[in-house]
C-alpha cells in the first residue's frame, strides 16, 4: 500500500517533559488508523506536531513524499491535511453555513474560488455531513454532537487527503457515536485517509484497520485491533499491573 504520511523519529519536549519521544510509523493511503493511549501519552501533541501547530524538536514528517516539518499550519492545511480539535473551535458569531464557507474559501483550492462557488461547495459539504437543516443556525445554539459534526464539516471543506480527528466522540451518547462512525466511514469511502484519536474504545476499535498505541510519549504497540487488545503491555498500561498479573494467574489456572 502507498504511504501517505511518514513519521520518523519525531520528538517533542516541553521543558524536561517528553510528550513525543522518537515516534516512527507510517500511515497508509486509504486506511483508517486509530491512535490510542492513556491521558498524557502524547496523542494530541503528535497531532499538533503533524499540523504544524507545534514545532518538533527532532525528526521528519513526510506527506506525499514532501517534508512538512517546519511548515506553517495554514500551509500544511493547503497541502491536504485537515484536523479537528479536541476542544472544539467553531467560529462563534457565524452560522453553521458560514463556518463551512470559511473552510471552503481558504482550504486547498480556496484561492481561486468566487463567493458564489464557495457557497455552493459549502452546501455540498453540509449535505455530506447531514447538516443542511441546521445550516442557518448560529453555532452558539448547537448541541455538542452538532458542534463536533461541524468541526468535521469545516475540516472536510478544505478538501483534505488526510483527516486527523482529535477525540471527536468525547461527550456523545451511543446513538450520536454511531452517527459519527457512519460519517467517518462515509468519508473514508470517498478516498480520504483518517487518523482517529479516541478514548471511546468500542468506537475506535470497530472502525480502524490498524491501531497505534502511545504510552508516556513512546510508541508502545502498533497492529490490528485484535492484536492490540491482546497485547500484554497495552493491557498493563491501560488497566494496571495488578490486573495483568491477575489475568496471568487466571490464565495459568485455566491451563492447568
Amino acid at each position: 500500500m502507498e504511504v501517505l504520511l511518514s513519521i520518523k523519529n519525531v520528538s517533542k519536549y516541553f521543558g524536561g517533559l517528553g510528550a513525543n519521544k522518537d515516534l516512527s510509523f507510517d500511515i497508509e493511503k486509504g486506511e483508517i488508523i486509530g491512535l490510542i493511549g492513556p491521558n498524557g501519552s502524547g496523542k494530541t501533541t503528535l497531532i499538533n506536531v503533524i499540523t504544524g501547530n507545534y514545532a518538533a524538536d527532532q525528526g521528519s514528517i513526510r506527506f506525499k513524499g514532501h517534508e512538512i516539518l517546519g511548515l506553517k499550519p495554514y500551509t500544511i492545511n493547503r497541502l491536504g491535511i485537515a484536523r479537528t480539535y479536541q476542544v472544539v473551535q467553531p467560529f462563534v458569531g457565524m452560522s453553521v453555513r458560514e463556518n463551512v464557507v470559511a473552510g471552503v474559501l481558504f482550504g486547498r483550492d480556496g484561492k481561486g474560488r468566487k463567493m458564489k462557488a464557495a457557497w455552493e461547495k459549502a452546501d455540498e459539504v453540509l449535505e455530506l455531513c447531514h447538516m443542511q437543516e441546521k445550516k442557518n443556525e448560529m453555532v452558539e445554539n448547537l448541541t455538542i454532537a452538532d458542534v463536533k459534526r461541524l468541526e468535521i464539516a469545516k475540516a472536510m471543506a478544505t478538501d483534505p487527503d488526510l483527516l486527523l480527528l482529535d477525540e471527536g466522540m468525547a461527550g456523545l451518547n451511543p446513538k450520536e457515536i454511531d452517527d459519527a462512525l457512519e460519517l467517518i466511514t462515509k468519508i473514508n469511502k470517498m478516498g480520504i485517509t483518517l487518523l482517529v484519536v479516541e478514548h471511546v474504545m468500542k468506537a475506535v476499535m470497530s472502525i480502524s484497520q490498524r491501531v497505534v498505541v502511545l504510552h508516556q510519549g513512546l510508541l508502545m504497540a502498533i497492529g490490528t485491533p485484535e492484536t492490540i487488545v491482546r497485547d500484554e503491555q497495552v493491557i498493563k498500561a491501560y488497566l494496571g499491573e495488578k490486573y495483568t498479573l491477575r489475568r496471568k494467574d487466571q490464565g495459568e489456572a485455566k491451563k492447568l
Binding site: 501547530n53 499550519p73 495554514y74 492545511n77 485537515a82 467560529f91 458569531g93 481558504f106 480556496g110
Partner: protein, 320 residues
C-alpha cells in the same frame, strides 16, 4: 426581502438629503457636517480592522498624521497638486502599515494596542524634531484656490465621498474572503490557521486598508484646515474618540461606526457651545457613563429593544 428594499430606499433618501443639504444650510452647519463625515471616515476605517478582527489599534491616529503631513509636504516641497498629494499620502500609510504590520501584528490583543500607541507617539516626536515637517512650528499648506463658500462645499463633498468610499470598502470586505478570514481570526485564531488562513497576512491587509483610509481623511483635513502640527494630528485622543464611536455604534457593523460618529460629534458640538469651558470634562464624563451602561454599543442596545431590564442586567453583569 421587503426589509432589504426598505433599507436601501431609506439609505438612498438619506444620501439624497445629504447631497442637497449643503446648498440650503449655512456654513456653520456645512462645517459641522464635514467634521462628522471626517470622523465617520475615521471610525469606519478603523472598524475594518477592529470590528472584524477584534484588534484595537489605539495608535491608528498615526496614519491620520502621516496622511496629513505627506499631503502637506508633497504640496509644499514637491509642488504636487492636491489630489495627487492626497493619494500619495494615503498610499504611504498603506505601505507603512503593511511593513510595520508584519512584526507588530504577531502580537496579541492589548500588546498590539500598546505597540500601536508607542509607534504613534514615537512618530509624533520624530515629526516634532525633523526639519522637513517644520517641527513644532507646524506646517502651513497652500491656500485653497476657491472662493470661501465654494471651498466649504468642496470639503463637504470631499469628506462625504471619503466616507462613502470607506463604507463601501467595509461592506465589500464583510461579504468577501477578507471578512471571513478576520471574523474567523477574531473568534478562534488557531481554528482559523487550521483551515488554511494565513492569519498574519489578513491582519496586515486589514490594518493597511484601515491605514489607507485614515490617511485619506488626514490628507483632506490638512488641506481643509490649512495648518497642521504634530500635537494636533498625532493626538491619541483622536484615536480614542473614533474607537469610542465604533464601540458606541456597534463594532463590526457597517452602519454602527457612522452612527457613533454622528452621535459623538453632534453631542460634542452641543456640549461645546453650552459648556464651553469644561466641555472636555463633560465629554469625558459622558464617555464614562456610556462605557458603563452600553458596552456593546447602540445597535446592540437597539436590538435589546431599549429594555430597562437589559440595561440593569448589563450593569449587574459588569459588576461580576
Amino acid at each position: 426581502m421587503i426589509e432589504r428594499r426598505k433599507n436601501i430606499l431609506l439609505f438612498g433618501i438619506l444620501i439624497l438629503v445629504l447631497i442637497l443639504f449643503p446648498f440650503l444650510a449655512s456654513n456653520y452647519w456645512i462645517r459641522l457636517f464635514t467634521g462628522i463625515f471626517m470622523y465617520g471616515t475615521l471610525a469606519q476605517a478603523t472598524n475594518i480592522l477592529m470590528g472584524f478582527s477584534g484588534l484595537v489599534p489605539f495608535g491608528n491616529v498615526v496614519f491620520f498624521g502621516i496622511g496629513a503631513y505627506f499631503t502637506g509636504i508633497a504640496m509644499l516641497s514637491l509642488g504636487f497638486p492636491f489630489f495627487i498629494a492626497l493619494v500619495l499620502g494615503a498610499s504611504a500609510c498603506f505601505v507603512f502599515a503593511f511593513v510595520v504590520g508584519h512584526p507588530v501584528l504577531k502580537l496579541k490583543g492589548h500588546y498590539f494596542a500598546i505597540a500601536t500607541m508607542g509607534i504613534s507617539e514615537a512618530i509624533k516626536q520624530i515629526a516634532t524634531n525633523v526639519k522637513i515637517t517644520r517641527g513644532g512650528m507646524g506646517l502651513n499648506l497652500p491656500l485653497v484656490p476657491l472662493e470661501v463658500n465654494t471651498s466649504y462645499l468642496f470639503f463637504y463633498f470631499l469628506m462625504f465621498s471619503a466616507m462613502i468610499l470607506v463604507t463601501i470598502a467595509a461592506f465589500w470586505i464583510s461579504k468577501n474572503r477578507i471578512g471571513y478570514a478576520l471574523r474567523a481570526i477574531m473568534s478562534n485564531e488557531d481554528g482559523a490557521k487550521s483551515i488554511g488562513i494565513n492569519t498574519l497576512h489578513y491582519k496586515v491587509l486589514a490594518w493597511a486598508i484601515s491605514a489607507f483610509f485614515t490617511g485619506l481623511a488626514g490628507g483632506i483635513f490638512a488641506y481643509w484646515y490649512g495648518y497642521i502640527d504634530p500635537p494636533s494630528v498625532f493626538d491619541i485622543g483622536i484615536s480614542v474618540r473614533f474607537i469610542i464611536m465604533i464601540l458606541l455604534g456597534g463594532a463590526g457593523t457597517i452602519v454602527g461606526p457612522l452612527l457613533g460618529a454622528s452621535f459623538i460629534e453632534l453631542l460634542s458640538e452641543t456640549v461645546w457651545s453650552q459648556f464651553l469651558f469644561i466641555h472636555l470634562g463633560v465629554l469625558g464624563a459622558i464617555i464614562v457613563l456610556v462605557v458603563i451602561f452600553m458596552p456593546k454599543g447602540f445597535l446592540w442596545f437597539y436590538r435589546q429593544k431599549f429594555s430597562l431590564e437589559a440595561l440593569l442586567e448589563n450593569v449587574r453583569k459588569g459588576k461580576l
